[in-house]
């Protein structure tokens, strides 16, 4: 449980940072970099949660006996 809470806080942190970065870059007139920063944030978080998502789908498969 402890690691999961940590992960949620990390995700929240990256979320806040990407939101601020997006606003900052957009305000400076560099919209393409703003979108790039957002995409990078999404990609980084996806890297962290990808195996958890895999676990989830595995569990769904076992619950419904889809083997």
């Amino acid at each position: 449980m402890g690691t999961n809470i940590d992960l949620i806080f990390k995700i929240a942190g990256v979320g806040i940072l990407t939101a601020v970065l997006h606003a900052l870059l957009k305000h400076a007139g560099k919209e393409e970099y703003a979108h790039l920063a957002t995409l990078a944030g999404v990609a980084i978080i996806l890297m962290w949660v990808i195996d958890l998502l895999g676990n989830l789908f595995d569990q769904v498969k076992t619950v419904f006996r889809l083997f």
């Binding site: 990390k10 990256v14 940072l17 601020v20 900052l24 400076a28 007139g29 560099k30």
Partner: protein, 172 residues
């Protein structure tokens, strides 16, 4: 403990890097303004006071702001040393020493090199005309630089800090 110290170091380093980049954007308009006033000082010295170029350069070096006075001081030293170099050569040499330590761009350098071509090469009115033209060109560069600075200074100041925070967050 080590983790916290490392995180702090990363954040401080990234923030300082951002401040450095922001500083380079902020300094260029200042320097361009100082150059403009120094050039008009030089024009006054040449046209109204009819000072010899060596002394005129010294005067300008003494009276202009510290960030550009080095350029005029070096040009003065080059001329005053009487090593047989023309005003243009002395000016070029001073520029070559001054430019790498300044925050100017190549277009600004081109304007200043144009100044060197006419220094002491023709009569007063002609030099005055060229100096005024150089001032005008520096003024348009300054407008552009200020516009750029207004947009980029705040961006880089925060960008460094937030990049540091992001790195820490990703590595923790």
């Amino acid at each position: 403990m080590f983790k916290v110290a490392g995180a702090l170091l990363v954040i401080v380093a990234a923030g300082a890097l951002g401040l450095l980049v922001a500083g380079s954007y902020a300094r260029r308009p200042q320097e361009l303004r100082a150059l403009q006033s120094a050039l008009s000082l030089l024009e006054t010295e040449i046209v109204y006071a009819a000072t010899p170029l060596t002394e005129a350069l010294e005067q300008v070096a003494r009276r202009s702001e510290s960030c550009v006075s080095g350029l005029f001081a070096r040009a003065h030293a080059g001329l005053a040393s009487r090593t047989g170099s023309t005003a243009q050569e002395a000016w070029e040499r001073a520029l070559n020493e001054y430019y790498p330590n300044s925050y100017l761009r190549p277009d600004d350098l081109a304007v200043l090199q144009g100044v060197g071509k006419i220094l002491g090469a023709s009569d007063r009115q002609d030099q005055a005309k060229h100096l005024r033209l150089a001032c005008e060109r520096l003024r348009t560069q300054n407008l552009k630089a200020e516009e750029e600075a207004r947009r980029n200074v705040r961006l880089w100041r925060y960008l460094g800090l937030f990049a540091g925070l992001a790195i820490v967050l990703i590595l923790v």
